[in-house]
């Protein structure tokens, strides 16, 4: 491949280019896929990792924050863990490799590496725009994942857990999922490190909701303290489709979760909820680009952040309402509990509205724990530390409760209180 560079590469950029060179022969894919990978890597090399001068990355200067890239190490066997919600069907991806024997009743499952091998995955390996570093990195390096098809009118009686576990090294996974008309399902996309060694993870889920599909999708990120996690979910919402998308960040050192959502069918509904639990010296970015592209659709977005230590968080929420998307109803809010003087949170809501008959609003708050609430709990004998923990927990638990599926709510509340117990 062409090693001539137009600008000086950073150590991390050089490592990515070298890793690609070292793996090119063994990455799965037919000619079309290999050609696509090569083009994406070339684009990445030319553009470099994005800096703060790129608007979409202004608060997450990837070039500066991603100083190195761990080697794509071979790792000894990793054992699956118990699912988040008891009774879920678990589809394991261990160190980036899917399980060829995985099966779920009523769902068509293909291994993504097979789609790479036969070339059917090539068209999907894209960068969504000129600044889509995650699309480029994942498209260049992706090895495996699951492609799921939930047929029309299918209602899954148990959640499916996409259980992505890894140790140190590099992991690049992909989950194309198609939900047929009027299907109903809950998917838990769970990313978790089983060791402390540094890892680079990229993962993209491409999901399509056909007309009337009713889906709950949970992204639970629990990476280790040195990990970089680059996630992206690409969503298309059809007519009267309903998506509850929950993103929970409870780990990682450098995290970017991009939510690229297009509402393309009338009557569609999106409920986005995000919980960012931020501690140590981590940097976590949730970036939403939501297009309301047709009339009569609605969405609500609530992001709750808790910041400890020297952690930094970012929420960018862009809502675009297309010229003919009349009667759009969109409400976005981002609330932060800042429990430290050394950390921070940046919220950047943006509304681009080209239609004239819409209801769109946004709001952002940053606050400490309400002292009157603290007094109330302490006046009942709850010691200060415990009272604070209860109030922090309440701040985020409030939106988890909106999920309404009791077992799921309990499990996520468990994740949150365990995190808070460790960090608060």
């Amino acid at each position: 491949m062409n090693m001539q560079t137009t600008s000086r590469l950073t150590a991390a950029e050089t490592a990515l280019v070298e890793a690609f060179g070292a793996q090119i022969g063994e990455l799965p894919g037919n000619g079309a896929v290999i050609g696509t990978r090569d083009r994406l890597l070339d684009e990445l090399k030319k553009a470099g990792l994005p800096t703060r001068r790129i608007e979409a990355w202004h608060y997450t200067d990837l070039k500066n924050l991603m100083r190195s890239v761990p080697d794509a190490a071979q790792v000894s066997a990793i054992d699956p863990i118990a699912p988040l919600v008891e009774g879920s069907k678990v589809l394991s991806i261990l160190q980036g490799e899917a399980d060829a024997k995985a099966a779920v009743d009523g769902v068509e499952i293909e291994l993504f590496k097979d789609r790479l091998a036969d070339g059917s995955a090539a068209a999907g390996l894209t960068a969504l725009d000129k600044d889509d570093a995650i699309g480029r990195i994942n498209g260049s390096f992706v090895r495996d994942g699951y492609a799921l098809t939930v047929p029309a009118d299918t209602e899954l009686d148990a959640p499916i857990e996409l259980q992505a576990l890894h140790a140190a090294g590099q992991v690049h996974t992909r989950f194309p999922v198609s939900f047929g008309a009027a299907s109903k399902a809950t998917i838990i996309e769970r990313h978790r490190s089983v060791t402390e060694g540094a890892a680079l993870v990229s993962s993209i889920s491409d999901i399509t909701l056909e007309d009337g599909a009713d889906i709950t999708w949970i992204i639970l990120q629990q990476q280790a303290a040195e990990d970089t996690h680059l996630g992206q979910i690409r969503v298309k919402l059809g007519t009267k489709a309903k998506l509850r998308l929950f993103v929970i960040n409870a780990g990682g050192k450098l995290v970017r979760q991009e939510l690229r959502i297009d509402v393309v069918g009338e009557g569609a509904e999106l409920m986005l909820r995000g919980v960012n639990l931020l501690g140590a010296e981590s940097h976590t970015d949730v970036t939403l680009v939501l297009g309301h592209n047709v009339p009569h659709t609605n969405s609500t977005e609530i992001i709750r952040n808790v910041v400890f230590d020297r952690a930094n968080g970012v929420f960018q929420g862009m809502i675009r309402v297309a010229p003919d998307a009349q009667k759009t109803d969109a409400k976005m809010s981002c609330n932060t509990l800042l429990l430290t003087d050394d950390g921070g949170f940046s919220a950047k809501p943006e509304l681009e509205i080209f239609a004239d008959d819409v209801v769109c609003g946004h709001g952002a708050t940053v606050a400490d724990i309400e002292s009157s609430h603290l007094f109330y709990l302490m006046a009942r004998g709850v010691p200060e530390k415990k009272a604070r923990a209860m109030l922090v927990n309440a701040f985020v638990a409030e939106i988890v409760e909106e999920l309404e599926e009791e077992k799921l709510v309990e499990a996520l509340e468990g994740v949150i209180s365990a995190w808070l117990e460790k960090h608060a």
Partner: protein, 251 residues
């Protein structure tokens, strides 16, 4: 049980003095009413007794069972048996009422070196106390005070008081916002807790509540001092003549 000696206190933020040389003694078994016009320092006194940090004591002392409690935080005071029923109980979204009750009861027990309650024991106690106060179970399943009516909030306060079994109960304007039926339920709840080793301070603006919770002593608070003390006849006198006469005498 409670001895307040020459207490001076101010708002921490701006230094405004609210309590100006207050003396008060409340014995075990006693129900003491504190009455006074708006702005006399009644609610401030209740906050200072329970340890709210928005106020600073600049002089004097508060002795509880012979020991100063000024250095104790609100949780420590609570576990020693001091309970404030709030005038305006706060809504705390995201904190489940049952979980809150359980944590509060068990933290107090832990602080006193007692064993934690088992879940069935806890459930039984809550059920019994709730029935007496006509609090239905649906209310207990909601987040703490969220969406409760004014009367429900006051009953929830008395429920907490019944469960926590404090030694010194401070009721801050518990009658405000209650209709007569709700007032009776709340008063019954308070009276049920009357015992020789428990003292109650009833802070109120009006005499009405004292028809139902009959005080042993009545104290008039004005400009941060007790300007007159007496028995329940004093409350009736206030009801007839208002505060003006007494304030005039004291001035």
């Amino acid at each position: 049980m409670l001895e307040i000696k020459n207490l001076h206190a101010r708002i921490a933020e701006d230094g405004t003095e609210i309590i100006r040389g207050l003396n008060l003694t409340v014995k075990a078994g006693e129900i003491a009413a504190i009455m006074g016009p708006n702005g006399s320092g009644k609610s401030t006194l209740s906050y200072i007794l329970s340890g709210r940090q928005d106020y600073e004591v600049t002089e004097g002392d508060i002795l509880y069972n012979g020991e100063s409690i000024l250095e104790l935080d609100p949780a420590e005071r609570a576990s020693k048996g001091i309970f404030l029923a709030f005038q305006y109980p706060l809504e705390i979204p995201g904190v489940a009422t049952m979980q809150f009750l359980k944590v509060a009861m068990n933290e107090q027990r832990k602080a006193r070196g007692e064993a934690e309650l088992t879940t069935p024991d806890f459930m039984r106690r809550v059920k019994d106390a709730a029935e007496k106060l006509k609090i239905d179970q649906a209310m207990l399943r909601r987040p703490l005070n969220v969406g409760f009516s004014g009367g429900e909030k006051k009953r929830a306060e008395i429920l907490q008081m019944a469960l926590l079994e404090p030694k010194l109960c401070i009721l801050d304007e518990t009658d405000s916002g209650l209709d007569i039926d709700a007032l009776k339920i709340v008063a019954d709840g308070v009276n049920a807790l009357k015992s020789p080793d428990r003292a109650t301070i009833v802070i109120t603006h009006y005499q009405r509540l004292l028809d139902y919770i009959v005080p042993d002593t009545v104290h008039v608070l004005y400009k941060g001092q007790i300007i007159r003390s007496g028995d329940k006849a004093l409350a009736l006198e206030l009801e007839e003549n208002g505060y003006a006469d007494i304030i005039g005498e004291a001035a």
